[in-house]
Structures are given as structure tokens and as C-alpha cells.
């Protein structure tokens, strides 16, 4: 029993070392820009770089749009499947899982073939069109996480009975969605939103191949040409992801939308 416990701790320690040592090493390296002493010069250099601000801002806007349009697609879909079409649930689950199986590069090449400037829907024919295509591809990419987060939240509140309860009290669809369903799946929506945010902020393939000035390609560019800044950027990217995860935990912990059930 005691040996088992020790072995468990050793396994955890190995995991922690494997994960944290490179991170600590990267962080330590990012502070070594000034010769002979630790400094935040690399971070200063990153933050003062105009391209950093532009690409970061661009990715933020893309992430926000992805979250808004993604949720507009996912919440009603998950709701409708739960309420009226439970038989097609396995099909929807399969479709939402596809982005995990199909590599991003395949998806984006598919988009480029379908929506190039000489196609029927020439998304790539203009900057705004390409940006729209990028948002659509981000939505595809984050679909497995968004759908599951929302669907799990819906399972917890028994949407069917809540809908019927609201309906018999005279409510119409917009009221049911906005006042009875949406607030009760908010924790799922936010969880999906934070994961989406983290994915979009670090995504490289889609943005690079669609030639958009996003944060992912910028990270690659800096990594190829500078020494200390890439380390600082890696730490910043980690911080963003961790912040998103932390917020996700907070939302689920402090959510008071506990379901009313026997």
C-alpha cells in the first residue's frame, strides 16, 4: 500500500518535472536578454513591437467573432437536437468531432479550393472575405469543444421540461431561449468560449495559409528571427491559456445554476 503511494507520487513528480522544467527554463531564458543580469527586456521588446500589438489585437477580434458566431450556431443546434431531434444526436456528435480527426491543413486546403477567388463563393477574393473565412475555419476548429461544453450544460438542466414549463406559462420561443435556456447554459457557453479563445489565440495553420496577420504566424516569425523574444512570447501565450482555463474553473465553480430536480 505504502509502496503504491510512493510510486504514485514518483509518477506525479515525473509528470510535473516533464511539464514544468521546460516552462521554467523558457521563462528563465526570457529574462536573460540583458547580459549578466535578469531583466524584463524581452517582454518590453515584445510589448513595444507594433506587429505584436496588431497581431494580438487581430487574433483577439477573430476570437471574439468566433465565439459569438460559434455560439449562435452551437447553442440553438444543441438545443434543437436535445428537444426535437434526439435521434440525430450521434450524427451531430460525429460531425462536431471531425475537426479533431481531420488535420487543420487539410481543412484549410479544402476551403481554399472551395472558396478561392474564382469559385462561386469567392471568400478569398477580398480581405474581409478572407477574414470571414478565417472566422468560419476557427468555428470549425473549436466545434468539438464548444458543442460538448454547451451540450453538457443542457444535459444538466433538462431543457425539454424547462421549455415545456415556460411554454405552458405563455412564453414564446425568443423568451424561452433568452430567459429560460440561455442563462442556465451560461456556464457551458463560457467554458466553450474560453477554450475557443485559447485555441484561436495560438492557432497557426489556418491563419498562415490564409495569409492573415494573426498572433500564431507572428509567434512563428519572431521565433525564426530573434533569440529571447520567442521565449517571452511563449510565456505570454501560456499565460493567456492559463488565464482562460482559470476563468473557466471560476465560472463552473461559482455558477449557481444548479438544476432543480428531484
Amino acid at each position: 500500500m505504502k509502496t503504491q503511494k510512493i510510486l504514485a507520487w514518483i509518477a506525479i513528480a515525473i509528470g510535473v518535472i516533464y511539464f514544468f522544467v521546460p516552462l521554467i527554463g523558457t521563462f528563465e531564458f526570457s529574462l536573460r536578454m540583458r547580459r549578466g543580469e535578469y531583466s524584463a527586456d524581452a517582454y518590453q521588446s515584445v510589448f513595444s513591437d507594433m506587429q505584436f500589438r496588431e497581431t494580438f489585437g487581430f487574433s483577439m477580434v477573430m476570437a471574439l467573432l468566433t465565439i459569438i458566431f460559434g455560439m449562435l450556431l452551437v447553442v440553438p443546434t444543441a438545443y434543437w437536437v436535445r428537444l426535437r431531434l434526439p435521434q440525430i444526436r450521434p450524427v451531430i456528435e460525429f460531425i462536431t468531432l471531425l475537426p479533431l480527426v481531420i488535420p487543420a491543413i487539410v481543412i484549410v486546403f479544402g476551403y481554399l479550393r472551395l472558396y478561392n477567388s474564382s469559385s462561386w463563393i469567392p471568400f478569398t477574393g477580398s480581405t474581409s472575405g478572407t477574414n470571414a473565412l478565417l472566422v468560419l475555419s476557427y468555428i470549425t476548429l473549436s466545434l468539438p469543444y464548444m458543442y460538448r461544453a454547451v451540450d453538457t450544460a443542457m444535459r444538466a438542466i433538462d431543457v425539454r421540461t424547462l421549455t415545456e414549463a415556460a411554454e405552458i406559462l405563455g412564453a414564446k420561443w425568443p423568451t424561452i431561449m433568452l430567459r429560460c435556456i440561455f442563462p442556465n447554459v451560461m456556464s457551458g457557453v463560457l467554458s466553450g468560449a474560453f477554450i475557443t479563445f485559447a485555441i484561436v489565440m495560438g492557432e497557426f495553420t489556418m491563419a498562415a495559409l490564409l495569409n492573415r496577420p494573426a498572433f500564431g504566424p507572428y509567434l512563428q516569425l519572431v521565433g525564426a528571427n530573434k533569440a529571447y523574444e520567442p521565449a517571452a512570447l511563449a510565456v505570454i501565450a501560456f499565460a493567456i491559456t492559463w488565464l482562460s482555463m482559470g476563468l473557466l474553473q471560476l465560472v463552473s465553480r461559482f455558477s449557481k445554476m444548479a438544476p432543480s430536480r428531484p
Binding site: 415545456e164 411554454e167 406559462l169 442563462p183 444548479a258 432543480s260 430536480r261 428531484p262
Partner: protein, 353 residues
């Protein structure tokens, strides 16, 4: 004209017909229970009244108005669900106020009505609580107040007590009945619990395989079941296989015993088979019992159940159970003992399929 009329209602899901030719008229202010086993179609009928399901055939009318074409949110019906279905993001006040807000009532009117409803269910001190901070019984009372707040024409109760523990169940069912009487609201209650149905209903509809087997007052349903199903589903009943002894004298043979029935046997001949039923509480072992007939049988087993002693005896191959009230000096009949059970000939019911 009746207030709520279900006229020749049918409902099919695919090839399966779950409700068959259901007819029922409910008067204003009446409390009617749909009683039946799982899958008998009682909840489907309730859901059709609510508008969650559309009848495949037939009409539903309330106060003379056909409801078939109306959507659920246009019917002005209140409903309490088995799973409470309170909105988790709203507190008690907002839950009760929901229907009134949707109807666009003025703020003052909403406040007055919600307070009135919370006083009715005696939970006015919990107006700020959220559903997850309340017990099951409290949540179901809030659900009742929420259903009643918009002054619905009909109240539907879909097994509202099933999820509660036994004690709360009894007190809440009495509370529901008292509130229903106080408001005079037409109520349809769905349950599979016969005690619930018998204790609070004006009338009971016993349903089986999509049909109403019998509609009647609790006393009629219990004492005069029309079919074998009603007889076996409501209460405990001994079904005895007998043979006709003398049709002109209205007597039947149960083993070696010849007993007279009060109910006419009908067009049967000597030695024809007949099923008769007897409630366990009908018989008595006392020699002073006011019974005009008796059967003799051998005791198989006897069990002490607290308030009653239930004894099973064999009479010509039929197992008959009968109950005696417990008394401090009561002696349990012993297996093998021969007993004479006395009862009134009116206690026997002829069971028809």
C-alpha cells in the same frame, strides 16, 4: 355543457396507438385523476390537453372552445411537472412571476399576485431563495404557485408527488386538494398511485392500454369495479374462480362451499365458470359478524402487518387473503387450521373481462 371535453381522442406514435377512443367530460371545478400503470396513455392524454402533443383524431375543448389548433402558450393552462421544472436561474419570486411577466401584467399587479400565491403555499418567507436552496416539497409547492399565478382555466398535475418521500407526499396531496377547492379550479391529476387517486379525487379515470376502463367516483371505482383490470389494479382483491351452482337461486360453488351472490349471475348455466372478486377487508372470522354467507378454508399463512393481520387460506384451490384489524389479544391463525370466513353476499363482485 361540461367545462373540459375530450371527444373521441386518439393518439398514435408511428404504428403504435397509445390512446384509443378516449372520451371524457369534466365539470368546472372538478378534480379528476387519471390512474393507471406505466405506459397506459394517461400522461399522453394530459400532454394533449396541454398542447405538447396533438391528437391524431378527436377534439379537446375547454369552456366550449376547441383547443386543437391552439399552441401550448395560447391555451391558458397551468401545469405542475414531476421533475418540478423550476427555472434554476430565477429565485422563487421570479419563478412565480414568470407567467405574469410573459403576459405583460403591470409590475404592481405582478407583485400583489406573487405575494398572494406565496402566502397560499405558505412560502412567503422564501421569496428570495433559489430552487437549489430548497427541499423537494418546497420546490413542488413553488411549482404549484407558479402554475396558478396566471389564473389558468385548467390545472394539470403530472405525477407531482412521485419524486417526494412518503410523509411529504401525504401532506402535499392534502394541501393541493385544499388549494384546488379554495380556488375552484378544474384539475386533472395523473398518477399511478391508487391511494393518491382515491384520497383526493372527485372522479377517477382508470386507464389501461390507451383506453378508459372505468370512470367513476373513488367509492364506485373501489367498490364496484367494472372490469377485471380495474378490480385487480385498484386495491387488493381476491379473484376467485367459481362454478355456477344454481342460476335461478343465484348461487355459485367455491370448492365445497355454495355461496349466494347478490349481483345477478346473468345468462349462465349450471357448472359454467364464473370469476368473482372479494376484498380482503370484507370477511370476518367473528361468529357474531353480520354476514349472510360463509366459506370454509384451510389457513396457508398468516402475517402480522402492524395495523392488520393478513391471512391467506385455501378454498377449493383458490387462495383467498383476508385482513383482520390488529388487537392486543389477537391470535394469529396457524397454517393448517380450518377457518370459517363470514361475509355479506353483497361483498362478492362478478368480474367481467
Amino acid at each position: 355543457m361540461s367545462f373540459l371535453v375530450l371527444d373521441n381522442i386518439k393518439k398514435s406514435f408511428g404504428q403504435t396507438q397509445v390512446v384509443k377512443d378516449f372520451n371524457m367530460s369534466i365539470e368546472k371545478g372538478e378534480f379528476v385523476s387519471f390512474l393507471g400503470p406505466s405506459g397506459c396513455g394517461k400522461t399522453t392524454v394530459l400532454r394533449m390537453i396541454a398542447g405538447f402533443e396533438n391528437p391524431s383524431d378527436g377534439t379537446i375543448s375547454i369552456n366550449g372552445k376547441n383547443q386543437n389548433r391552439l399552441k401550448t402558450n395560447q391555451r391558458n393552462i397551468g401545469m405542475v411537472f414531476q421533475a418540478y421544472a423550476l427555472f434554476p436561474n430565477m429565485n422563487v419570486f421570479d419563478n412565480v412571476a414568470f407567467g405574469l411577466k410573459v403576459a405583460g401584467k403591470p409590475k404592481e399587479e405582478i407583485e400583489t399576485r406573487v405575494k398572494e400565491m406565496l402566502a397560499l403555499i405558505r412560502l412567503d418567507h422564501l421569496a428570495d431563495r433559489y430552487p437549489y436552496q430548497m427541499s423537494g416539497g418546497q420546490q413542488q409547492r413553488v411549482a404549484l404557485a407558479r402554475a396558478l399565478a396566471p389564473k389558468p382555466q385548467v390545472l394539470l398535475l403530472d405525477e407531482p408527488l412521485s419524486a417526494l418521500d412518503a410523509k411529504i407526499r401525504v401532506s402535499l396531496r392534502e394541501e393541493i386538494r385544499q388549494i384546488q377547492r379554495q380556488l375552484g379550479i378544474t384539475t386533472v391529476f395523473v398518477t399511478h398511485d391508487q391511494e393518491e387517486a382515491l384520497s383526493i379525487s372527485d372522479r377517477i379515470v382508470v386507464m389501461n392500454a390507451g383506453r378508459a376502463e372505468q370512470i367513476g367516483t373513488p367509492s364506485e371505482i373501489y367498490n364496484r369495479p367494472n372490469t377485471r383490470f380495474v378490480a385487480s389494479f385498484v386495491g387488493t382483491l381476491n379473484i376467485i374462480e367459481a362454478t355456477v351452482a344454481d342460476p335461478s337461486a343465484n348461487t355459485v360453488k367455491v370448492g365445497d362451499n355454495t355461496v349466494r351472490l347478490r349481483e345477478p349471475i346473468g345468462a349462465l348455466n349450471v357448472d359454467d365458470k364464473i370469476s368473482i372478486a372479494l376484498r380482503p377487508e370484507a370477511g370476518s372470522l367473528s361468529e357474531s359478524a353480520k354476514g349472510d354467507t360463509a366459506i370454509v378454508g384451510k389457513v396457508i399463512s398468516s402475517h402480522f402487518l402492524g395495523s392488520v393481520i393478513r391471512t391467506k387460506m385455501d378454498v377449493g384451490g383458490n387462495q383467498i387473503s383476508f385482513d383482520m384489524f390488529n388487537a392486543p389479544d389477537a391470535v394469529l391463525p396457524q397454517p393448517g387450521e380450518v377457518l370459517t370466513l363470514r361475509f355479506s353476499s353483497g361483498d362478492f363482485l362478478i368480474v367481467r373481462d
